[in-house]
């Protein structure tokens, strides 16, 4: 949450002499309270119990990005808590107390860095004031460490627990102006802290959404049409109801969206629900399910036809021109060297290892939901609308997710569970089979980019033209199918054109880890490499020269805060660093083995990566080592977790690079499980992935996404250097490559 000017703190006493401190982000919501709900339970951020336990609330969804540990670290640091004795509790979704309870866009750090520290600092200030009053000394004479206040002059100290009751009676400091620590004094931030759930995970405790159990709970599966948007004509639900363990089987009409472009989160789709005593019984019953579908307009689609149509569109002028600088045609004509290339990449699925699931219990116009959605607030809104009840009657409990990657930004599983729960009237857990997950995703959109570029006699990039064939209708783009007119190298090339043409698509698309960037980095950084070679320049030098160019003025870029727009100097910093650490300048030529380089700016982070790759004569690829130079500002809040995340992002990118693709035949997704949409396995992973932090004087930003995009072009560029073959099509298996 950005520190809202109207945000305020509230302190209350706890039974037995403790205190708790809450930061209310929305005073309006606070003032109104909730009409029919209980009084505000004051458990919003910090609870100091009389027995000394300090509990810090984690407000955001934990999907494996480590936010449940990281946000409390920010509070604990300024509070000067003793981290070893801090308990962390996941909150429910509650927008009267918290803002920005979502996991997306690598935003948790930039949005919370300031407010979470201020909550901690305010609490500490109250505890210090309580100690100072007790000792009759000025607060400025007191210091704090590890949950104690000290008065060095008189050699006295006292624990927070003993002060909490007094502190709870003091006026609350203004959260906007409370002073913060000098970062040099950090004891928690910048020091590796283990994930707060690691013990629960290694001992198999039921911490995930799919582990939820309620008394009297039934289990559900939900069969949708194999073609997106298909409706149920008829189904043999009577026969299904007679199968062992089956309690309910019914058709759900749902609502297929109107219009030519599928909305971002279209809501409850038609299907058949089967509810049984156990999940396996529901799943087994499904094998006997016979449904006649009206498949609708999606049934005519195929990946082959899409590719053909894209090729036709590429031969026509783009339907939309998003950016036009200089005179690209003339510059291309006059260029000393020209390159023309057609890049393409497929749809892919998120496939988090925990399939979609949701538990719900509806009674008397109220519904309680247990979910690991990345956007519980949007889910709540959708459920309320679907069931025709006020949002205040929807309670969403937030559970740990077995991976997010953007899949849980949408709430299809939540509306399905809610509908089924209302129909059956008892607690019900909906669990999708892996096949449901793979064939009903919000796919990372595939795409086609047709590029032309030119360099002058001095080897400088002078012309860049991109005709991007993507998805949508009219001027409405499918979700996550856009390319920003500010995407580098826009503004750094004097003659630059970006145009788009749209083809219609009847399939859900959506954000996958580093959306847009995970494909645009591949295209842009590969094509830059092609141009560097055409110019006869070293790929790092060519890029450095480009970063040294003064950017063209741009009204849109100038409107944005400087911290949000591309900063060439920061990119230069990580590029030089990664070149140095990887020994780029001293690399030797070896047959079949080479380094490749790429960089990308996304989610406010600057990443440059070098991959050491070998390719055998039969196209077997080994990525030996990857260097990742990172500039995400002044602090790496939890370095060990950050390293883990960087390594994971690289491996994730390699899965996308080698073998993942979702294709359509007769409107159906062909790949239904990991066997045909594979992940990198341990033996295929790089032997070493080194994260190199370049701390700069900028506010800390996120890491989960921006580490991924450069690895794909870095490996492709290495393959080119090693073999002379340029990769312009993903995934690599389409061109006969495999892992060594």
């Amino acid at each position: 949450m950005h520190m809202n000017r109207r945000a305020f703190l509230k302190v209350s006493s706890l039974a037995g002499g403790g205190m708790l401190l809450a930061l209310y982000a929305r005073p309006a919501a606070f003032a109104q309270g909730r009409p029919a709900g209980p009084p505000l339970e004051p458990d919003a951020f910090i609870r100091i119990a009389a027995n000394g336990t300090i509990t810090i609330m984690a407000k955001d969804p934990e999907v494996g990005q480590g936010v449940k540990t990281m946000l409390p670290m920010l509070i604990a640091e300024e509070l000067d808590a003793d981290w070893a004795h801090v308990a962390i509790e996941q909150t429910d979704f509650d927008d009267t107390k918290y803002a920005g309870q979502f996991a997306g866009g690598s935003t948790a750090t930039p949005l919370n860095w300031d407010p979470m520290r201020r909550v901690g600092a305010a609490c500490r200030q109250m505890l210090v004031a309580a100690a100072a009053a007790r000792w009759h000394v000025p607060a400025s004479a007191c210091t704090t460490t590890a949950a104690r206040v000290h008065h060095r002059a008189s050699n006295r100290s006292i624990g927070y627990a003993e002060l909490a009751a007094d502190a709870a009676k003091l006026p609350v400091p203004d959260v906007q102006t409370v002073p913060l620590k000098d970062p040099k004094a950090y004891r928690i931030i910048g020091h590796t802290q283990r994930g707060c759930d690691v013990h629960a995970i290694v001992t198999g405790q039921p911490v995930f959404g799919i582990d939820m159990v309620r008394p009297g709970m039934l289990y559900a599966v939900y069969q949708k049409c194999p073609v997106f948007g298909g409706k149920v004509v008829s189904a043999n639900v009577d026969a299904i109801r007679a199968l062992p363990g089956v309690r309910h089987a019914f058709v759900v009409e749902g609502a297929v969206p109107a219009g030519d472009v599928v909305p971002r989160d279209p809501g409850l789709m038609p299907g058949v629900a089967i509810v049984a005593d156990t999940w396996w019984q529901a799943q087994a019953a499904r094998k006997k399910l016979q449904v006649t579908w009206d498949e609708g307009k999606g049934a005519a689609q195929s990946s082959e036809a899409f590719a053909q149509h894209a090729d036709e569109l590429s031969k026509q002028p783009p339907a939309h021109v998003l950016r036009h600088d200089g005179d690209t045609d003339a510059a291309l004509k006059n260029a000393a060297a020209r390159v023309e290339a057609a890049y393409s990449y497929p749809f892919i699925a998120h496939a988090p290892l925990e399939p979609q699931n949701c538990t719900a219990h509806y009674a008397n116009g109220h519904i309680e939901i247990w979910s690991n959605s990345q956007t519980p607030g949007s889910g709540r809104t959708m459920v309320a609308k679907l069931l025709g009840i006020p949002e205040g009657n929807v309670v969403v409990h937030m559970l740990r997710a077995g991976g997010g990657f953007g899949r849980r930004l949408t709430n299809d599983y939540m509306v399905e569970a809610a509908w089924i729960a209302r129909t059956v009237g008892v607690p019900v857990k909906l669990v999708w089979a892996r096949e449901d997950d793979m064939t009903n995703d919000y796919y990372r959109p595939g795409g086609f980019q047709y590029l032309k570029g030119g360099v002058d006699a001095a080897g400088r990039l002078v012309a860049w033209q991109n005709h991007f064939v993507t998805w949508g209708a009219g001027d409405e783009y499918a979700s996550a199918a856009t390319l920003s007119p500010l995407e580098f190298p826009a503004r750094y090339v004097p003659n630059f054109t970006l145009g788009t043409s749209l083809q219609e698509l009847w399939l859900k698309t959506g954000a996958l880890r580093a959306p847009g960037s995970n494909v645009n980095a591949f295209v842009i950084q590969s094509f830059l490499d092609e141009l560097a070679h055409a110019a006869g320049k070293d790929p790092v030098d060519f890029r450095l020269a480009l970063l040294d160019t003064a950017p063209l003025p741009d009204a849109e870029a100038d409107r944005q805060p400087k911290s949000r727009t591309f900063d060439a100097a920061r990119m230069r910093g990580v590029l030089e660093l990664v070149a140095e650490k990887s020994g780029w300048r001293h690399r030797t030529k070896q047959p079949g083995r080479a380094l490749g380089v790429a960089f990308h700016f996304s989610h406010l982070g600057y990443f440059a990566e070098v991959a050491d790759v070998s390719v055998s004569a039969d196209k077997r690829v080994k990525v030996h080592k990857v260097w990742v130079a990172v500039d995400i500002g002044s602090e790496i809040i939890n370095p060990g977790a950050a390293q883990n995340m960087v390594q994971g992002a690289i491996i994730d990118g390699l899965s996308e690079l080698m073998a993942q693709q979702i294709t359509l035949e007769h409107g159906r997704v062909v790949q239904t499980n990991y066997d045909r949409h594979p992940l990198v396995r341990m033996s295929q992973a790089p032997i070493e992935i080194e994260a190199i932090w370049r701390k700069t004087d900028n506010p800390p930003t996120g890491l989960g996404e921006p580490a991924l995009p450069p690895i794909i072009p870095a490996v492709c560029n290495a393959i080119f250097s090693a073999t002379g073959t340029r990769i312009r099509t993903l995934p690599l298996v389409k061109s006969g490559y495999s892992w060594a």
Binding site: H199, V202, P355, G402, N673
Partner: protein, 168 residues
């Protein structure tokens, strides 16, 4: 039908159809949620348990074939998380989302029981059937070595004195 299983040293009688995969008996009948469902077709190994001491995909084993040998799940690896593999996993802070880790841990425990000092190649061979969607493989490998050292009674390992990544 009634089946008698020995799970984590305890005898259980369950009444399910004979083709019910052991995975779903463990999760939904015996309420042992540590064993995870990821694919149902033997691709991810998130569902790995020990059957007679050997790691198996519980999603592919019908309950009727699980009656002859004792079953160990992650909950039964130790009473308190003190198995060397669990300790190593915690020390190295392996998980990201954590969903695959019970399966990885069960495979690692079976490996070091068989091969007390596994090489990188041994670990690759034993664990490459296990998917980690979050890509924690490098830490898993490190943690298996660490677990082997802990099992052999090496209390500290210099490599982990300061965790990699804790640079400054």
């Amino acid at each position: 039908m009634r089946f008698e299983l020995t799970v984590n040293g305890q005898a259980h009688a369950v009444d399910v159809s004979p083709d019910t995969p052991l995975l779903w008996v463990l999760r939904d009948v015996l309420n042992l949620k540590g064993t995870k469902y990821g694919c149902g077709i033997g691709q991810c190994a998130a569902c790995t348990v020990h059957l007679g001491g050997r790691p198996v995909h519980s999603c592919l084993i019908p309950v009727e074939r699980a009656v002859h040998a004792p079953i160990t799940t992650v909950e039964g690896l130790s009473a308190d998380g003190s198995h060397p593999v669990q300790r190593a996993w915690e020390e190295i802070d392996v998980p990201q989302c954590g969903y695959c880790q019970a399966g990885q841990i069960m495979a690692a425990a079976a490996l070091i029981a068989q091969t007390p000092k596994p090489t990188d190649a041994d670990i690759d061979a034993a664990l490459s059937g296990h998917l980690c969607r979050c890509g924690t493989y490098l830490r898993i490998k490190e943690a298996v070595h660490r677990a082997a050292a802990l099992a052999a009674g090496t209390p500290t390992d210099q490599r982990h004195a300061g965790r990699a990544g804790d640079g400054e």
